[in-house]
Amino acid sequence: MSTRQASVVPPLIECQALRKVYGSGATAFEALHGVNLSIDAGEFVAVMGPSGSGKSTIMNILGCLDVPSGGSYRFRGVPVERLNRDQRAQLRRHFLGFVFQGFNLLARTSARENVELPLLYRGLPTVERHARASAALAAVGLAGWEHHTPAELSGGQQQRVAIARAVVTEPLLLLADEPTGNLDTARSREIMELLTRLNREQGITVLMVTHEPDMAAWAGRVVHFVDGHIESDQRQPGGGGMH
């Protein structure tokens, strides 16, 4: 599978001379200056760097939440910078999953309803929504917790619900922004194991922002950002990823 992807299919993500400028005039601030990055389907990439280095900016652009100010970003060969708001929303809906540092679950909403949310926007019938949400929760080890609200779950459990929500749609790309930032070491390890398993078993490409080298060590490739450009891009033989 990996050989076919490498030879025929274009890279999942291809950025060329990507620039991002916030503000205008004298207060303008360039967060990214000319980033070139290419990620193949099935990779597990960790993005590292100090705060203000542009790693959140690149995540927002790669996640189709934001558009670059210059350069090009092709997702599956589609130039994202030319898409409008709704077209980018459609891309997110069908191909992307998000996991955030703060979990970002809907409060007072059961785990299953949280996981069902993206399926709801895809217009799936109720029975199928319930089945797939329950299956996704079981896959992250939360079978039997369907009717608990976030307030009744621990941090690690909440993050696993968030991961279930991100992967219930079987996305091509999972974007995780500091997924272990709010968790202790043991919980962090569980989350990383889960992400690795999703990457290996379901072939989901994982792009994870982290500032913890321990977490980055799980990835098959580590990209370091400093001052809005890539300082290093190294593959780790021992880490995750299907390459």
Partner: protein, 406 residues
């Protein structure tokens, strides 16, 4: 998409039951107030029309003096005579019946019971012009009318007070002053008049009997008033004019003199009275509608707060792939669902309130589908109107900003 939006908003409303209820309280009260006002107003109007109908339709009442209008003097106006009644009956076209009547108050005695009532002397035309139906017994016969025999027909109230509710009064005697009068008929009940008086509290006897034995002036031809009923479809104002012309001539009034009698059309009185009630209903309804508007502003206020409070949630939805119009629709549907639910609650409340108030005030409960539907649609429209601004604000949020929102 709409179904999803509905599902999401119902979930959201259920999640914030108390807040949702307080949000729609304004709408509930507004809708309930509008419907109650209009329903009660309609009940009052219906009651007046009904009472006018019981008075007799196609009816003109002719009274001596100018009773209506300010500053007119009715005292000293000459009375009508029986010949006037005959003239109207014979000379005016389209007249079906003319009854002459005179009334006075009297104490009726049966055994050890006595009752203060009104006694009216008249003829058989009175049953027609007054729209009266006999519950039992008969009208007067020719001999009784001509000979002034001591017979009478009584109303339901008089029967109840003098004989008891279940008793058959036919053939019994009622003493009026020195006259012992045999009951030959009982009138079917009509209930209260529009002025609130009891229409069934009366005793009727032949005109001649009344003249000779009650008013106590032998050979007196004076008539208290006339009732003229006319054919269906006849022009009431033309008849009025004709009777007026005839009576002016008979009463020898010069062109410069004002009328010293009045010809009243019951339908005109009815129109005036129901018109007044309708204006009052509209006025009260309009005042109540203001509270509906205030309720709508309440919904907008809460929805705006809700958008701010749920910024992060909106960010999550947008990140997951919700389209701008889906978020817009969700918030709009939520506002509409809230206000429509408020409308339904209001309708229920109004039904209870107007039913209770109507029976308390003795009005008929006139359920009006139109106003209920209008109030419901209006409350839903209030939801669209006042839900749109918050919904658009929610839909236009930047997902990155929204996700960062604490």
């Amino acid at each position: 998409m709409l179904w999803n939006a509905l599902l999401l908003s119902v979930r959201e409303i259920r999640r914030n039951l108390l807040r949702s209820f307080l949000t729609i309280l304004g709408i509930v009260i507004g809708v309930a107030a509008v419907i109650t006002m209009v329903t009660l107003g309609n009940g009052a109007t219906a009651q007046i029309s009904q009472q006018i109908a019981s008075l007799g339709s196609n009816l003109l009442i002719v009274l001596p003096g100018q009773r209506l209008g300010p500053g007119r003097d009715s005292s000293g106006a000459p009375r009508f005579r029986l010949s006037d009644v005959a003239a109207v009956r014979e000379q005016v076209a389209d007249v079906v019946a003319v009854s002459a009547q005179s009334s006075t108050s009297i104490t009726a005695v049966v055994g050890n019971k006595n009752w203060s009532s009104m006694v009216t002397g008249t003829d058989n035309a009175w049953f027609t012009t007054g729209n009266w139906v006999m519950a039992s017994g008969r009208e007067f016969n020719e001999a009784e009318l001509r000979g002034g025999r001591p017979v009478c027909v009584i109303g339901e109230t008089v029967r109840r007070e003098l004989f008891g509710a279940a008793a058959d009064p036919l053939g019994a005697s009622v003493r009026l002053k020195s006259l012992s009068c045999m009951v030959i008929g009982l009138l079917a009940s009509k209930g209260q008049s529009m002025m609130g008086s009891d229409q069934d509290d009366l005793i009727v006897m032949p005109f001649a009997t009344f003249q000779r034995r009650i008013s106590g002036r032998q050979g007196n031809q004076d008539v208290g008033s006339m009732r003229v009923s006319f054919r269906d479809g006849a022009d009431a104002s033309k008849l009025q004019a004709e009777i007026r012309r005839l009576l002016r001539e008979r009463r020898h009034l010069a062109t410069s003199e004002d009328d010293n009698f009045s010809v009243l059309d019951t339908r005109q009185i009815a129109d005036t009275l129901t018109g007044t009630t309708k204006v009052l209903t509209a006025l009260l309804g309009a005042v109540a509608a203001v509270s509906l508007l205030v309720g709508g502003i309440g919904i907008m206020n809460i929805m705006l707060v809700s958008v701010t409070e749920r910024t992060r949630e909106i960010g999550i939805r947008l990140a997951i792939g919700a389209l701008e119009r889906e978020v817009l629709l969700q918030f709009l549907v939520e506002a509409v669902a809230l206000s429509a639910f408020g409308g339904l609650l209001g309708i229920t409340l109004a039904a209870l309130a107007s039913f209770g108030l109507a029976s308390l005030m003795g009005l008929p409960f006139a359920f009006d589908v139109g106003i209920n539907l209008t109030a419901f649609l209006f409350s839903a429209a209030v939801g669209v109107l006042f839900g749109y601004v918050p919904a658009r604000r929610a839909a236009r949020l930047d997902p990155i900003e929204a996700l960062r929102h604490e």
